[in-house]
Symmetry: C2
Amino acid sequence: MTSKRNAFYAQSGGVTAVINASACGVIETARRHKERIGKLYAGRNGIIGALTEDLIDTSRESPRAIAALKHTPGGAFGSCRYKLKGLEENRLQYERLLAVFRAHNIGYFFYNGGGDSADTCLKVSQLGETLGYPIQAIHVPKTVDNDLALTDCCPGFGSVAKYVAVSIKEAALDVVSMAKTSTKVFVMEVMGRHAGWIAAAAGLAQAQESDAPHIILFPEIVFHQPAFLNKVKASIDRCGYCVIVVSEGVRRADGQFLAEAGTRDAFGHAQLGGVAPFIANLVKANLNYKYHWTVADYLQRSARHIASKLDVVQSYAVGKAAVELALKGHNAVMPTIVRKSDQPYKWGIGVARLADVANQEKSLPRDFISADGFGITAKARRYLAPLIQGEDYPPYKNGMPQYVVLKNAAVPKKLTIDFKV
Amino acid sequence: MTSKRNAFYAQSGGVTAVINASACGVIETARRHKERIGKLYAGRNGIIGALTEDLIDTSRESPRAIAALKHTPGGAFGSCRYKLKGLEENRLQYERLLAVFRAHNIGYFFYNGGGDSADTCLKVSQLGETLGYPIQAIHVPKTVDNDLALTDCCPGFGSVAKYVAVSIKEAALDVVSMAKTSTKVFVMEVMGRHAGWIAAAAGLAQAQESDAPHIILFPEIVFHQPAFLNKVKASIDRCGYCVIVVSEGVRRADGQFLAEAGTRDAFGHAQLGGVAPFIANLVKANLNYKYHWTVADYLQRSARHIASKLDVVQSYAVGKAAVELALKGHNAVMPTIVRKSDQPYKWGIGVARLADVANQEKSLPRDFISADGFGITAKARRYLAPLIQGEDYPPYKNGMPQYVVLKNAAVPKKLTIDFKV
């Protein structure tokens, strides 16, 4: 296919501090190939923008605004949690997508997301064969969870890793100051429902054994209350304080999430949400130490102000590579990060087939977790350490980071029929 | 008094991202006046170090290590939550303090803390008169709560203000990306037991009315559930999402904290936490919007990586000024920050009498809060905006900030009797 066709780009699933850097990579690269790629349309709120023909004309944005995406967190075009069903289950959806693509002469489909999104992208890539519409679908990897298969790491993860490691190091300096007469136990809840990558990254704050975090609770390790409480007590006996990082995905032996276990406070009120307060209360009830806890939630994945420079560079690189793969004629693939060496860290861009990526989850290997289940190993450190390298501060004005808000001008609709998602 | 005497410095109460910058100001200035000030001893864990004769010899630290305090969060010598009783109630405590001061020839007492600590400092300043021991006690202001009287702002506050404003701006970019199909309501809990200064600072993230935060809940404004829920709904109807900042100190009409934890700290203050999940659940139960919430807790006051440069400079300046006031013969005073103009922001150092500062609390003025009680006014903005100006990044190595850990070598004890605190 050599005729000039338009491209579609959308963001999918939970956004990150650097997903817009991938958008920037896609858009700037597409703009450099105007002989092959016409307009680049973004879906407003992900694939929903395609289904509802709610397209954004990115050509209306200045080069400066697009460049500013590189330092702007969140999803500049809106994202969504919406998974396409299989073709057999919902043929209407695919016919609608095709109608929109055809109406706007879209021949390139760039989808920026995690495992579910890779599956969506794979389904779109098959439209050429199954419905006779020529399209090239390229997935742009993104997920803070770092659980995508076949890529050494996931754009978005390095920045969360850095945020978590820096935050726990800072909070630990606070706790150790107060431990003599006040707070002895500090609990930080981090994301990662199914894989403990983010929790493991907190371990980078620990330079020597007595440093925080003293305990990390991983989704990969069944929570064993007596062993945990013993470890808390041992840490306080030895260091005077105990800093705990707990993944939201930690489970009991029966498979239930700790956070869903439900506890009651001193007044008998149901304890509201969060595995951090659950853990903190458990320690209080059994060991009677004064505690504080934090749930970073979205702060961890939007903290562009403390993003990993490497993560920003890699996020841009996969966006750029996605467009280059499309121009080389690829379909149903995803650019990957390939690690060439740990120290010095060297990396390059590879390619994976979406059929091998979609709906896979990469767990934290058991040998990344220490034998007692409460820390990370030297092997984990070798893997994780390069990913938080470098700072890449956004510009500031009047003390605040200058994040761009795009015009996001709508492309005039061409279809007469609305589609309900 | 012109003979050479030693000095005592201690950190008190909750620590901050910049209290060590004040320590740096005290130590570096004392070192420049060796003709008047002999050794500078720090109390290990605040005043407790004085009571237990657990003194740290800061002369054992290199100039480089002391300089690094300027970019290191937490309390480098340990802090405490411990309030001296009145002389009549516990004469033994004061006699013990005197014994330690006398044994180590301490003639200068620098106490770095908030309102409760100012009271302790005042009591120590009176030892000369009441127990016949000549000492000059100077208070060094510090509190993230910004509620100290007679100083325009409190060292420590500007950095929390910046953290909160930046974090809510970033999280809001995440929420607005997801709002179409997922999270519509985001709640961030911030510190501030009795005064809404920190909550107000979040308002700096709002450049125009549709920007986050859409609702701020202040301790100064009684929580009115129907008005709050109406405002949430109006925000979502208008903007598609709603970002809420809630102070831990928000109360019902009956005076009860919204999320009373039921425990009390060493000063008898109720220990708070968990109002964010309370608010989030309230919204869910009444309006059925999908929510996320965060409790930043210690992260907000230890986040040296995003400290306000002005705050760092002012924190250092009050430490330096405290020593200079002592050298000029002052006693029972506190250096203050004096604002000379808003725009351009100009400031200087003033002096306040501790008798006028101790146990006072400076509330957020009502005219800093908008008429509906859910936002800040232009007047508040004029006051707050200068305080978050400038970035002052710590040095990084291997992706992590390089914070100093001092040797904290103990001064050999001279007393034979131990003291139990």
